[in-house]
Structures are given as C-alpha cells and as structure tokens.
C-alpha cells in the first residue's frame, strides 16, 4: 500500500514549483521604495520654486525597458504644463522629464489617459475647491531593467508658481509610477509576503502663496463662502454658497440671510445692490443645514449695460435687517471675488 504521506509530500513540492512559475509569469515589475518629497511651506507668487522628489525603483523578475512616470497635482491656475521644468539624476543616468502625451493610456485605467486615471484614483487630494489638475510627465528615455536591478532617482521640479496671480493655499500631490504597470494596486503575495508597490502617492500639507496681485483662494480650509464654478465671468450663472457651519458668526441664529454686494465695472463704476429682498435672499440648501446659496447672473444682477463688464465684486452676507454682517474670515472686511477665467 502506498503511503498517503508520501503522495502528499510529492504533491506539495509540485504545487510549490507551479506556484513559483505562475508567480514568475504574472509578476511584471517593479517596486517603488524610499519615496520622499521635499517642498517649502510658502512661496511668493511668480517666483521659481524647486520641489524635490526622491525614490528607488526596484525591478525584480522581469527584463523590460520602462519609463518612470511622475504625476503632479497643482491648481489649474498655475498652468503648470507651461511653467514647469523637471530634471532628474539617477544611478542609471540623468535627463529631463517630458509631458506624457494625452493619448497615452494608463495601463490600469480602462481606457483613461494618465491625468484622468490619476484624478479618478486619487481625486483632488483633499483640496476643497475642484479647480486642481494632475499634470503627468515621463522620463525622456526608457530604462532597460533586468532581473534584480534597482535605480535610485532624484527629481527637481522647477515651477514658476501662481501664474493666475492668486495667493493660493492648496495641498499639492505627487505620484511616482512606471510606464508598464501604471497605477496597479499592491500585490500582497509577492516577494516573501512583502507588499509590492507599483506606484507611490503622497499629498502634502497646505502650501501657501503670498505677495500676489490676485485674491486669496483657500483650497485647504473650509470656507464661509465658496463658489461654483470657481472661475466665472459676469455673463456666467454664478452660485455663491455661505456655509454657517464653518465658524460661529453673528448670523448664527438668523432666520434668513441675504447678499449685500458691490460690483466694480471695467469702466470704473461701482454699483451696490444691498437690499434684503427676494432678489438677494440666499436659500438654505436643506432644512436645518445652515448652508445657504444664491445663483446670480452678475451682469443682470448689477444692472450693467451691454458695454460694461464686471471686474470684481465685494460682498457681505447679512441678516434681514441688513445691520448684522459677515465678511471674509468672519471679519468686517468684505469677501472679494474677481471675475476671470484663469
């Protein structure tokens, strides 16, 4: 009689070999390790700022030539694609990063290109205004990698920040990946049980621009007043939301809240609309929400002629009497909104 134990041991050995073979076929590439980002906390609008990224690119099991990929989450107003130069130094050579073509599909993206896939996977990095974009680059050359090889690289991302002139506060995002595997989620059974990362992603704490001619635009912190869309002209429909939950304001127990605004025109006029009527009343978004909104057509709201346009408006939120007012940051200074597209 054959020993049952004998058969079992043979089977186990075969199973182990088969598993290793299958793993060898399925496993593609590389692990991103030692990923660090070095950026300042603040910068002056219009200055050149260097953001530094360090990572190690390890290749196990596969012989393949790949580009490494870098994704950068920045405010759209920076026009980063036209205001950024990225150099890299690495153990496999030095060079520049180039913009990833919009036609290149992200390997795990189900038909999306790299920026769209990053936006879908990582959102807008916890920023509270949806006016951010992922700008994606790749190394100018492919790196031929062989089984067991590793590359260590440093990126220097030089950006002329704040092209829109705004004193923006925002969280920046960084992603490192490679062109073959893309944004593939970690495999948990590789390399002796150690998690294998095909990409690495981090969002920084709030980065602040100062000294610019534009508005303070805060993507990091909940705001008493926010705008949809974020960028409009006076001929757009423009929705202002006042969120009374953000801070305890003098309007806390107001039965109704109203817009009290002054529009400043391109021909130097100021038109004030500060009545507490149906025209200026904000509507609560849901009963008890303490969030209120109003949608205006600014050109009509301020009674402009066809020849006039609005450059900006300053405003307060008031109660029904008009005497209790809330301004920017819960102060007596008004909120300011500039009508511009970039």
């Amino acid at each position: 009689m054959r020993s049952f134990l004998q058969i079992k041991i043979k089977g186990r050995g075969l199973w182990y070999v088969c598993t290793m073979l299958v793993m060898g076929i399925v496993i593609t590439c590389c692990s991103i390790q030692n990923f660090t980002v070095d950026q300042p906390d603040t910068a002056v609008v219009g200055s050149n700022v260097d953001f530094k990224v360090h990572f190690k690119f390890s290749n196990i099991f596969a012989d393949r030539t790949e580009n490494f990929v870098f994704g950068f989450l920045v405010p759209k107003g920076w026009d980063a694609a036209h205001n950024t130069k990225i150099k890299y130094t690495s153990t496999a050579g030095n060079g520049n990063l180039v913009l990833m073509p919009n036609t290149t599909l992200e390997p795990q993206g189900n038909g999306l290109n790299w920026p769209a896939s990053m936006k879908k996977k990582f959102g807008i990095g916890g920023n509270l205004i949806d006016d951010m974009e992922w700008v994606v680059y790749q190394s100018d050359v492919g790196f031929p990698l062989s089984n067991g090889e590793a590359i260590t690289a440093d990126l220097t991302i030089s950006v002329k920040v704040g092209a829109d002139g705004n004193n923006t506060l925002c969280k920046l995002g960084y992603v490192i990946a490679e062109s073959y595997d893309g944004l593939k989620d970690p495999d948990s059974f590789l390399d002796g049980g150690e998690k294998y990362e095909y990409y690495a992603e981090t969002i920084t704490s709030c980065f602040q621009l100062t000294g610019g001619p534009g508005d303070v635009v805060d993507f990091c912190n909940p705001q008493l007043s926010s705008y949809d869309p974020p960028k409009t002209l006076d001929n757009d429909f423009f929705t202002i939301t006042y969120d009374g939950n953000v801070a305890t304001t003098p309007l806390n127990n107001a039965a109704a809240v109203y817009l009290c605004a002054t529009g400043n025109t391109s021909d130097g006029k100021s038109i004030t609309v500060c009545e507490q009527t149906a025209k200026t009343k904000l509507t609560q978004t849901a009963a008890g929400s303490n969030r209120y909104k109003i949608t205006l057509w600014p050109h009509q709201f301020f009674g402009l002629s066809d020849a006039q346009t609005l450059t900006n408006m300053t405003y307060y939120i008031t109660d029904a009497s008009g005497s209790t007012r809330v301004g920017y940051g819960n102060t007596t200074a008004p909120f300011v909104y500039t009508f511009k597209c970039k």
Binding site: P229, K231, T232, N235, D236, F237, T295, C341
Partner: protein, 147 residues
C-alpha cells in the same frame, strides 16, 4: 373517363386561379421619401438646463425666457445667459440635414453651435451647448416649442 376529365379540369382551374392571383399583384415602386426641410419657426422655452453637468433648473427661473425664430430672424425674450446677447438672424448649415446652427447678433460676428434636434416622445426638442462666460464653463439648454 369522366373521373379523369374532372381531375384534369380541376387542375387547370387551380392553375388558372393561381395565375390570376399572381397577375393581380401590383408591383410596388419604392421611391425614397424626400427629407423634410427643418423648420424651427416658433417660440421655444427651456425644459432642461445644466452648467458643467449640474442642474440649473432648480437654481434659476427659466420660465420667462423665450427663444423665438421667424423668417430667418431670432429674438430673445426675458433673456438669460445664452450664445448671444442681442437679437439678430440665424441660419442652419443644411436645411434638410442640419448639423450646425449659427446666430448672428446685430452688429456682431456669427457664433455657431451643434444643432441637436431629436424627437423625444413624439415631440421635437432643440438642444444647444455653449459657453456664455468663461470658455471652461459649459452650458446645455434643451428647448421645447411653447404651446
């Protein structure tokens, strides 16, 4: 003998009727129907409006806004943000198979947009997409003929 004659007569009668039946079939000559010219004359009101994909109907009162077409001219009544801000003339790129509609406000160059003119639940709708303010803000208005 009589039996045989009767069978033959029956066969010939059946054949006769078959021939008559086929001969009576009228051959139908199919001529392609001529595509109608698209006539959008009349008053149109907004039944749905979005801005960057989000609903505008719940935020803005569109009930007073009217777009009227007559004799090659259009007028805006109680106007709201739209492709054009003043009255003027309009045209379709092809009267039978229009893909584009152009609006020329008096004193301004023409602006064009895709002409989407489907039949929905038996009724014509007109859908126009445009950016009245910042180019990145996209508005879609769907109109129906006012009663």
């Amino acid at each position: 003998m009589k039996q045989l004659y009767k069978q033959t007569k029956t066969k010939w009668l059946l054949l006769f009727f078959a021939v008559v039946a086929f001969a009576s079939c009228k051959v139908e000559h199919l001529t392609p129907a001529k595509e109608s010219v698209k006539d959008i004359s009349g008053d149109w009101v907004v039944i749905s409006a979005t801005r960057n994909g989000t609903d505008l109907m719940s935020l803005v009162d569109f009930s007073q806004f009217k777009l009227s077409f007559k004799d090659g001219k259009y007028t805006l009544v109680n106007r709201l943000p739209f492709l054009v801000s003043k009255d003027g003339s309009y045209s379709l790129d092809d009267p039978q198979y229009p893909f584009k509609i152009s609006f020329t406000a008096t004193g301004s160059p023409a602006v064009a947009t895709a002409f989407t003119y489907p039949i929905v639940n038996g009724v014509r709708q007109l859908t126009l997409t445009f950016s009245p303010g910042c180019p990145n803000n996209t508005y879609v208005y769907t109109f129906k003929k006012a009663n």
